[in-house]
């Protein structure tokens, strides 16, 4: 991450330079500790990624870019990057859409609103593994699951989720966990919405759709970009849901980058290969972060 704050230093005019130097000196211990905290594992990972280091084959040594070449030649790296993009993108769209709708709903004066809100937030506090297991065994199971039972009532063949639409199934589980988060952030934002404005619009004859479109949504733009940024950081590393449901399959239909690294490290015991995968993941995450931070920054300035 670059120090994005540099640009703002010196706005204070003449004394800015002096103050900034002092401020940097004051900050330095924290920054140095954080750097060490980040750099040491990164350097170690880099180092391992150039080694032939398989736990089950004690002989090793420097191999240059072999580990990277092996990954880049395989079909699974590209597929897993694509799966990661699909999963992050799909879940983001779902959580923003449903999060916004639920926030608007929970913002209405309803009876039992407090309890409803509490229930709404609950999935966020269920551990990922537990949530995934509940979905897998109680809801999505094509023989004993709740959805299969509904399907039998309606006389249709139940969907075999994890075989036919595995990535969608994982996406649903992850979205279910993250919708509450989006709802929570957007709801707090809605509560700071100026009611006079809404009433004025109402007097001028704007319907509920128009009010939502022209007043609420612009008001929500900033919190939505925050939700996108925070969720992306977490969704890039979705792992538990995949491990307990599909183990990255069928085939490699649900293998995302973190799962690929896990497979390399703990199925092949190939520390070198896994480190190379980790470095590739770090590079990709930084590219994503770069664009995210920029887009959020522009939405902040508006």
């Amino acid at each position: 991450m670059a120090f994005g704050s540099e640009a703002q230093v010196g706005h204070g005019g003449k004394t800015g330079g002096h103050g900034a130097a002092q401020a940097r000196l004051m900050l330095s211990p924290t920054v140095i500790v954080l750097l060490i905290w980040m750099i040491v594992p990164l350097v170690l990972t880099l180092w391992f990624s150039f080694q032939r280091y398989n736990l089950l084959r004690p002989a090793g040594g420097f191999v240059g870019f072999d580990n990277y070449a092996y990954l880049l030649e395989g079909h699974d790296l590209w597929r897993s990057i694509w799966n990661t993009v699909l999963l992050v993108g799909g879940v983001l769209i779902a959580t923003i859409t449903f999060g916004t709708l639920s926030a608007v709903l929970l913002n209405q004066p309803l009876i039992g609103r407090g309890i409803l809100r509490l229930l709404y937030i609950a999935p966020f506090f269920v551990m990922p593994t537990v949530g995934a297991l509940i979905w897998k065994n109680l809801l999505l199971n094509p023989v004993t699951g709740l959805f299969a039972w509904f399907a039998h009532l309606l006389r249709v063949t139940p969907i075999d989720w994890f075989s036919n639409v595995p990535l969608l199934a994982i996406g649903i589980i992850v979205a279910w966990q993250w919708i509450p988060f989006a709802t929570l952030i957007l709801l707090t934002a809605l509560q700071s919405l100026d009611q006079d404005q809404m009433e004025a619009a109402h007097m001028d004859g704007a319907g509920p759709i128009a009010r939502f479109r022209y007043i609420m949504l612009p008001h929500l733009a900033r919190p939505i970009s925050i939700v996108v940024m925070i969720e992306t950081i977490f969704l890039l590393s979705v792992f538990a849901e995949i491990l307990v449901t599909t183990s990255g399959g069928p085939g490699i239909a649900t293998t995302n980058l973190p799962f690929l690294v896990y497979k390399t490290a703990l199925l092949r015991y190939d520390i070198g290969g896994a480190s190379a995968g980790g470095i590739i993941a770090v590079v990709l995450a930084n590219i994503v972060a770069f664009f995210l931070v920029r887009s959020v920054a522009t939405s902040m300035e508006r």
Binding site: L44, W47, F48, Q51, Y53, N54, L55, L56, R57, P58, Y70, E73, G74, H75, K136, N141, P142, V143, A148, P158, D160, W161, F162, S163, N164, P166, T245, T246, S247, G248, G249, P250, G251, I252, A253, K263, L266, L267, R268, Y269, D270, I271
Partner: protein, 440 residues
């Protein structure tokens, strides 16, 4: 190996294992084991061992199979030395033994009756003339079927069925409107999950994983026939969602009465005969595992064993416990406390000669027959460079086998055609074997 040390430390921290070295007279040994019911019984009964050996304290780390494997492999491979006794399968023992990672059992007391161990198991655990691990329980596979459903349809299960006959029965017994499926098989990808079934199936169609020069054979005619057969059988007469079903899920399906047939591990019998866990008690029959063109390799041989890593600083104490937990005396102790039906099967000839055991486990002769005819050194009719039935005894196998399992699962779920899945598996396997240095 400085990097190894660093990694070991990092792993140790990440796994959060506290090294327990309290200053006391008793030696505390750390035992890593798998959460199977027989191991849980061992853990319960181990207080007896502590009574008999007041100088030894036991500390248990009980994990799910895959996690255990990763934990134990990283501990042993990085020489972290946190585990004094590990539970490993017959797949690992010869590989680790050759790498010199295991401490052999040399002075085995006469009371242990080492000659009583079943030959195939003993051979599988012997490295350079020494036992490198002691078998806790052993298993093979057989055909499990519902006698009541067969009777209702006037079908008779032969003692040695072929896969074609099994498919024929499955089609007749499949009744999805009643929620009963013709056959349940493992479908969850993994070298120890669906490949345990598919490897045997391919062997019995005459298919091998590798030829004598380590060229993968996954696109050979027998493999294509076997995988096409497996995919079609599950599509026509199997339960939906089969690619999520590993051994445990399939066991649950059969125990709740949803399957007419099942081909799987012989240890399933004691579970299916237990009224607290199974709804089909008294309605289950057992015959030999199906074959197609050859019975060689149609059923695997597996055992969970106890081994002492070279890195353990308490090897003597750990070995004492391993000898106790795999001894005839231990089997007698389990029989006394929980009945003969619960004794760990598949390790000793004397168990199968015991009239009490034969009464509690009427299927025992079929199990013994299966175990004695499974030869990991000769897993298929054709010559092979590897040891192992349904698995290949090389370090790369966990990765390769799981990947083949993933590709076949994709074919079962209809994401890929069988030909494409096998082509992909062949490519990946060749790539991995080239990287491993088997192929030039």
């Amino acid at each position: 190996m400085k990097q190894t040390r660093t990694l070991a430390t990092m792993l140790a921290i990440s796994f959060g294992i506290a090294s327990n070295a309290p200053v006391q007279a008793a030696t505390t040994i750390t035992i890593a084991t798998v959460n199977n019911s027989d191991m849980i019984v061992m853990e319960k009964l181990s207080s007896q061992f502590e009574k008999e050996n007041p100088d030894i304290k036991l500390h248990w780390v009980t994990l799910e199979e895959n996690v255990l494997r990763q934990r134990v492999t990283t501990d042993v491979a990085t020489h972290a030395g946190q585990l004094d006794l590990v539970t490993v399968g017959v797949y690992e023992v010869p590989i680790w033994g050759k790498l010199g990672w295991l401490s052999p059992f040399t002075d085995i007391p006469a009371s242990y009756q080492v000659d009583d161990l079943l030959k195939p198991i003993r051979n599988a655990l012997t490295v350079d003339g020494h036992l490198d691990a002691l078998p806790f329980y052993g298993e093979s596979t057989f055909t499990i079927y519902r006698t009541d459903l067969f009777k209702a349809k006037n079908l008779v299960m032969p003692a040695n069925p072929t896969w074609t006959q099994i498919a024929d029965f499955a089609a007749k017994l499949n009744d999805s409107s009643q929620g009963v499926y013709g056959i349940c098989l493992r479908g969850k990808p993994g070298w120890g999950e669906n490949m345990g079934t598919i490897g045997d199936l391919a062997n019995s169609f005459g298919g091998r994983y590798f030829d004598m020069n380590w060229n993968a054979q996954l696109e050979s005619a027998p493999w294509k026939q076997a995988v096409n057969f497996y995919v079609k059988l599950l599509k026509d007469s199997g339960p939906p969602g089969v690619v999520s079903n590993g051994y445990n899920e399939t066991l649950a399906l059969f125990a709740s009465g949803k399957c007419a047939m099942w081909v799987d591990a012989t240890v399933s019998a004691s579970f299916l005969g237990n009224p607290t866990q199974s709804k089909v008690v008294g309605k289950v029959g057992y015959v030999a595992a199906p074959y197609e063109t050859s019975a060689v390799g149609s059923h695997y041989l597996w055992a969970w064993t106890l081994a002492v890593p070279k890195t353990s600083r308490k090897a003597e104490a750990a070995k004492r416990f391993a000898l106790w937990a795999t001894s005839p005396a231990y089997i007698a102790l389990v029989a006394k406390t929980s009945g003969w039906g619960a004794v760990p099967p598949g390790t000793r000839t004397s168990t199968y000669a015991n009239p009490d055991y034969l009464k509690a486990a009427p299927y025992a002769p079929i199990v013994l027959q299966a175990m004695q005819t499974a030869d990991p050194r000769h897993p298929v009719d054709q010559p092979v460079p590897y040891v192992g039935i349904s698995y290949v005894g090389i370090p790369e196998w966990q990765d390769i086998g799981t990947n083949i399992g993933q590709q076949i699962a994709a074919a079962v779920s209809g994401q890929e055609s069988v030909d494409n899945a096998l082509k992909q598996a062949q490519q990946d396997t060749t790539r991995a074997m080239t990287q491993g240095g088997y192929l030039k």
